[in-house]
């Protein structure tokens, strides 16, 4: 079902997209805000149907969300923003304008016609394989957090949290507050990495983050949660579900200290190694990408969050993982810029804020973006994935969970078949060919191929996916899915 054209279509209603939509509407444009989730908020402000207040203790920057929600509700009421929740965008066509094609609840299709796009699809947890990681009871750190924030579900009674990055603190604190016994947070890097030379300036300027850290320290003390820097999980054990984990200390160079292994009984594990930006939509639109400090492929954007594809603005994690505060700043800039783009002669114009007020606001936002990016860079420097995971792999450890491709098969492909890049590995071993299309194993495959073949690390070649989401064959066959019931309203679904 097609709907009346809008000026700006925003994909993703997390901190970046929500801010962008409200900014573009404030600048007078009509906006469609499309998100696959049941409610706006994205990962950061994920909440239950009872509303975000019900879980205030789990949320930071809660006041900001309320402000945005109020702004959104006002524009939804006037019809200036059309909010389409539970709509997953599977492809975007580009002509003189853009046609955004979304599946409602995986069943029928709705298209949005727009003059400009803001893409704010966010990220997902970065994972690396470890023996036993496919056992039920092992979750991504973000998954454990999402289950808690949206559904009040604790993933286990005795939970081990492992990986790297400040996000682990937030996950562990949430679990402990809700009554899980957190048997330890195993941070592969040293927590003090933050306080090195250049990073220090970024941290001090970003006082908000610092106070978040202090808050977690209090929670950990109250719930007697131990934080183990320079330690990691090396294996998960169990038969049909996870029963224990092996943890070990790491050297300064990220190798396991021999003899430091220890087995801990658990009934759940939450593990995360940072995040991988969700790039299918921008990449399919031809946007240029680069590899960020954390090894993730990201969309290259200019001063106004514009990508290399005219009319496509990108904000949030997709331009480099930097957290919710940066996502909001980028979203606001992208929202203003997209609003401006709609009304100019694209050949000659360069971006100029329309009023003194807008100019001041934008100049503040750009300064803030610089600070927060410096902070993100400091975070990436302090939290690399340590090389230990490569040494802990067993021949039968799964790399690709979907197609059940083991480390051994990948090694054989490199040795016998001369595989030298991730793309070839995919063709010859089916790694990354399954349901998730390499989203889960992409980073690890790129690392392993580089190691086995002795080539350079290159994460590209796995992000090019023809469809952003699986689409029922019926939709492809008929061009459009069954029509939406006629009386269904556009707004506030």
């Amino acid at each position: 079902m097609a709907s009346s054209p809008v000026d700006v279509c925003v994909v993703g209603a997390g901190p970046a997209g929500l801010t962008a939509a409200v900014a573009a509407a404030t600048a007078g444009r009509t906006v469609a805000l499309v998100d696959a989730g049941a409610r706006p908020g994205g990962q950061f402000w994920r909440h239950s149907p009872a509303g975000i207040e019900a879980d205030r203790a789990l949320h930071h920057d809660f006041v900001k969300y309320r402000q945005l929600e109020t702004g959104l509700a006002r524009f939804v009421q006037t019809g200036q923003i059309r909010l389409l929740t539970r709509h997953q965008v599977w492809t975007i066509e580009r002509g003189a304008r853009f046609t955004v094609r979304a599946l409602k609840a995986g069943e029928y299709e709705r298209t949005v016609d727009a003059a400009a796009l803001v893409l704010a699809p966010g990220a997902y947890d970065r994972q690396v394989p470890l023996p036993g990681w496919e056992l039920p009871g092992v979750y991504t750190a973000g998954g454990a957090q999402a289950l808690l924030k949206e559904h009040g579900v604790l993933v286990g009674a005795r939970v081990l949290v492992a990986g790297t990055g400040p996000f682990l603190l937030s996950v562990a604190a949430g679990l402990a507050q809700r009554g899980a016994r957190v048997v330890g947070v195993y941070e592969a890097n040293t927590g003090l990495g933050w306080l090195h030379h250049r990073s220090l300036r970024a941290v001090v300027r970003n006082f908000g983050k610092l106070s978040e850290g202090i808050h977690y320290a209090g929670t950990f003390a109250r719930h007697r949660v131990w934080y183990h820097p320079r330690s990691t999980i090396v294996a998960a054990h169990g038969d049909t579900e996870v029963r224990a984990a092996t943890v070990a200390r790491l050297t300064r160079h990220g190798a396991v200290v021999p003899g430091s292994e220890r087995r801990i009984e658990v009934d759940a594990i939450a593990v995360g190694w940072g995040f991988t930006p969700q790039l299918e939509l921008p990449v399919a639109l031809g946007t240029r990408t680069e590899v960020d400090a954390d090894g993730s492929e990201i969309v290259l954007v200019g001063d106004w969050q514009q990508s290399s594809t005219p009319g496509v603005f990108v904000a949030g994690e997709a331009t480099g993982v930097g957290g919710a505060a940066l996502a909001r700043v980028e979203g606001e800039i992208a929202g203003y810029a997209a609003a401006w783009y709609v009304n100019v002669d694209h050949e000659s114009a360069s971006f100029h804020p329309r009023s003194r007020r807008a100019e001041r606001r934008l100049s503040w936002l750009r300064k803030r973006r610089l600070t927060l990016r410096a902070f993100a860079a400091a975070m990436h420097r302090a939290h690399p994935v340590p090389p230990s995971w490569l040494d802990q792999l067993q021949p039968d450890t799964l790399v690709c969970r979907c197609e059940e491709v083991s480390v051994e098969r990948l090694r054989t492909a490199a040795d016998d078949l001369g595989v030298t890049d991730a793309r070839l590995a995919k063709l010859l071993t089916r790694t990354g060919m399954g349901w998730c299309q390499g989203r889960v194993c992409g980073y690890a495959t790129a690392c392993l191929v580089a190691r086995f073949a002795g080539t350079g690390y290159d994460p590209r070649g796995l992000t090019e996916r023809p469809l952003a989401v699986p689409v029922p064959l019926g939709v492809l066959a008929h061009g459009a899915a069954p029509a939406v019931p006629a009386d269904e309203s556009w707004r506030g679904e």
């Binding site: 979750y139 049909t240 469809l467 989401v469 699986p470």
Partner: protein, 89 residues
Amino acid sequence: MSTFWFDGHEVPFRPGATIGAALLASGIRSWRTTRGQGRPRGVFCGIGVCFDCLATVDGRPNQRACLTPARDGMDVRSQEGTGHGEFAG
């Protein structure tokens, strides 16, 4: 409280719950076996990315339990192998 059927057992759920969240809240952690090795799987990523949590819902195979909203009286079944290939992706 509302309930749905999971392999013939009644599973209660809170308003707004997904099938995956409700199963986990009832202590059920896996509802699929893999095609190659027949290994159990359940929720892993929790946000629709990994496709580990597939289940057959009201006769439609390969639905992501972590995204699919639970509805009263729904018929949810565990799944072996691939279900069938209903998707093009």
